[in-house]
Symmetry: C2
DNA sequence: GGACTTACTTCTATGTGGAAGTTAATGTGG
DNA sequence: CCACATTAACTTCCACATAGAAGTAAGTCC
């Protein structure tokens, strides 16, 4: 309920009120630069934003005066000679943000600072996936958070499936939702602004602002879990696929003679790489049900069936990564999700496969792996709330 | 020798002199907009460039005064009501540009206007691929052109292989060149500024400025000929692969059980799609040597061997196009080169294959096919000369 | 201590967006 | 047929943000 700050009821015109005072685009760019990159000197900010030093003096002044930025006392440690710069840092107090990841069984929640650092976690098992039941579980989490963090600025909600206007879950297969206006529902209960988004889109935004994609021109994200997610970020802007991140990978055939599983077409990324598909393949081969983590363990210990399945998956993943490099030409690929444990066991096989399908003359592969659990997805949703509340209304799509 | 305009000898500091008077970036943007899009009203230009109408009044004035732009006499035909716009057009006189495409056997040449319209063609067979012999053949073509077009502004040269600083052919396998400084050589002979570039890169630039890629955010080019070329253009800027367009496709495995040919790995794009590979496959199957165009004819008439080879190629091409769509997400793919006759014969098979490997939910395929001969490659090189001379020195690269 | 380097500030010329006004067409009602 | 509203292109003018130059500050290097 957190009534103290419940100023943004549902249906407010112009979207959630920003937590920052009204800023010009240039001022906002400076603030976001500091927010996403940590304490930075004026000259460094000017360089990154492609502005003149003079402009930064002017832009920083009102931001410091209004209490949004803070000028560091100790000069920043400089590499060489010259006058050291004075770092500017952003004031994160008093705000905190809530991120929620909704699966069919559980609502995962986190509290983060403005800089997206997770400071608290909390889950609720779901008895039912009905929107009202989910909203009540979410509300319960938020109530618990609000006791400890009275200044909650907003809530980000991530879920699988397509979402419209950061508000309506148009089609969420795992939850069985179709056209559920979840944001108003939760705003009504909590009195806080709520942003709903596809969970993968939220993770991509989080990595673009605060993670591996910071400052890159071209950046790709590939997640492996219950499904495969692929996203491309160009100049800080995610390229939104027209279908809103719906099961694209089911037709990415990586090996025409690959395994046939209940998920996706024969030899597709979905059929070869998702957690379920790998578990299915081992079950089909051995007759016994083994969980994903155990399969990785078995493969590590050279178990024949597990090794074969994991080896094929590694080769397929290499092809997939090589395709991304060949055609999207990103400067970096981030590999995330629950299913990237594969890289620990068969990382070198994956890299060999990448190299076998890439041009030998081009730059080395820049691949980053980040194992992520459901709380990381929740953090992604929190970042979306941060973006919307920091930018004001019109934060993209 | 066309000595009348031979003011830019080799080694001039600051690169070739622009043919336009010194312009501010905004003025240049306006001029280029008119150059690449044809006669356009001020308000339309403002909309496209994201500027205010007021700015366009200011920017257009000096451009018209200096004689670079011309205000149309007849108002542009407007759709609805309101005051009709006055079209601005660019003055192309008196300049012409030369584009040369160099293969191992022949130098292909074209003359174009500033708007890249081809107005003249001319070839020279090569006795030898030695740089001096090639330069002499090129010089001979330019001399012929100069008789008819006295105001040649510059020469663009396109060749396969990697090129440095738009001047030095670092490595050109078909010509057997390594580290040949061809631009100075030809500048010395002709007295004209010379821009050397990888032929594919030049074609991509041409399509970005004057062709299918105009005004698109994300645009991909795929060429099929003696080799496979792939390029991605983002916001009008080609993404330059770190290897400078060297045989990337030899490891793009489209069908692991595909044919093995002398070119590229088994089932690779090179092995399945290039003109040579298709000719090789038919030769291997039938024992007789048949040329590419005849193979297409045979396939059209249901000849078994030709149909099989072309059918497999069509399926492979569909996979390749689907990959590009899936991972680079361009708004349009342009298919060009000598080997796109495949689309005439097996276009529907290609499209079926594309659809089979793409997400059924996403936007329909936006594919454009443009059969191109060597003169089209020469035109691409001419566009590069236009770009460099229009932008002045620092035109990328 | 002086040369040097880099960060930051101050000042000014300039390019830009936006508001308000003008012009040239179409559409509408008497 | 003519007055008047409407629409959209274009012009004029002003407030203002920006780049760039010049100056000052705060360190390192020799």
């Amino acid at each position: 309920m957190n009534g103290s700050k419940g100023s943004n009821g549902p249906g407010d015109p112009g979207g959630p009120a920003p937590i920052w005072p009204p800023l010009t685009p240039a001022e906002r760019a400076v603030a976001i630069e500091v927010l996403t990159n940590g304490p930075t000197s004026r000259s460094e900010i000017a360089r990154r934003l492609g502005m003149s030093g003079g402009s930064l003096t002017r832009l920083a002044k009102p931001l410091i005066d209004s209490g949004l930025l803070l000028e560091g006392l100790t000069p920043v440690a400089t590499a060489g000679q010259g006058r050291p710069g004075r770092p500017l840092d952003i004031v994160t107090d008093p705000w905190h943000f809530v991120g929620l990841k909704i699966t069919g069984e559980t609502v995962y929640g986190v509290v983060t600072t403005l800089k997206s650092t997770v400071v608290r976690r909390e889950d609720r098992k779901l008895g039912s996936a009905e929107p009202e039941a989910v909203a009540e579980a979410a509300h319960s989490i938020v109530r618990t958070f609000a006791e400890e963090f009275p200044h909650l600025a907003g809530i980000g909600v991530g879920l699988a499936g397509s979402v419209r206007e950061r508000s309506v879950a148009v089609d969420s297969p795992y939850l069985g939702w179709k056209g559920v206006s979840f944001a108003p529902l939760l705003e009504e209960l909590t009195g806080l602004p709520v942003v709903v988004e596809n969970d993968f889109a939220a993770l991509v935004e989080a990595e673009t602002w605060f993670g591996s994609g910071r400052g890159l021109d071209r950046f790709a994200v590939l997640t492996i879990g219950a499904g495969i997610g692929y996203g491309l970020v160009i100049n800080g802007e995610p390229v939104r696929p027209s279908d809103g991140y719906r099961g694209t990978a089911e037709r990415w055939i990586l090996d025409p003679s690959g395994p046939l599983t209940p998920h996706g077409e024969r030899g597709s990324a979905t059929a070869m790489l998702t957690v379920q598909s790998i578990e299915y393949q081992v079950r089909a081969a051995t007759g016994s049900t083994v969980r994903y983590e155990e399969i990785l363990d078995l493969a590590r210990r050279q178990d024949p069936a597990a090794s074969r399945v994991i080896g094929e998956a590694a080769r397929a993943l290499g092809i997939l990564i090589a395709n991304i490099y060949n055609f999207a030409m990103p400067q970096k690929i981030l590999l995330a999700g629950e299913g990237v444990g594969l890289m620990d066991v068969a990382g070198s096989a994956v890299l060999d496969s990448v190299d076998a399908h890439r041009n030998p003359h081009s730059d080395p592969v820049n691949l980053e792996t980040k194992v992520s659990d459901f709380h990381d997805w929740a953090r992604g949703a929190a970042v979306l709330a941060i973006q919307v509340l920091v930018l004001g209304d019109g934060a993209g799509g």
